[in-house]
Symmetry: C2
């Protein structure tokens, strides 16, 4: 049984900073791609009114996405990568530094399992 | 216990068409957003060489993403929506019609559960 990709589904709670900071989020997306050893195709960040930011990095190895809920101190992060050279956990660390959550919850889903 | 979002993680296997068709994938992303009752912010589609397409629709309610592996007849689809008016299952149906998979596997993850 072999999978095509690894998908980290991460919940960040009690985040203390940067949930409403699109510029820092954009920088972190680029840095997360670099640290994971992935190849950036495109990065898109959207700011909502009155608050909240969505960011997506499309990478050659799938994507990294996040959505922030400043009113709840919560961020939903997904790091979906394929290939054996990429380290999705390294991307997670970048966002932990960015948002400084008080607690996190991470599950990994194997994508494209070939039975 | 209440969640902020619903995230459908969908595997589509034995897909018979459109895995290498960025224009149809773009149209389907837009249609999936409409059918789910979501609000489109941006849609991005990237074609890989020699094959494979990645597409992301950023929506006001989070995102829809997909990645195709034509060489495996496989598509990885994510439909992540927040709010009670959006129906993520309706988006899934659009992609089932687009790719005509022989089998699918869907799990739902509740995102942002407030304990």
């Amino acid at each position: 049984m072999r999978e095509l990709g690894r998908h980290l589904v991460v919940e960040l709670w009690g985040c203390q900073q940067n949930l409403n900071n699109p510029e820092e989020i954009r920088k972190a997306l680029v840095e997360a791609v670099r640290r994971a050893g992935a190849t950036l195709i495109d990065v898109h960040v959207h700011t909502f009114n009155p608050h909240g930011v969505s960011g997506v990095a499309v990478i050659a190895e799938s994507h990294i996405s996040l959505h922030t809920w400043p009113e709840h101190g919560y961020v939903a992060l997904d790091v979906f990568t394929c290939g054996e050279k990429v380290v999705p956990e390294a991307a997670f660390e970048v966002f932990r530094d960015l948002f400084r959550p008080q607690r996190t919850h991470l599950i990994e889903i194997k994508r494209g399992i070939q039975l």
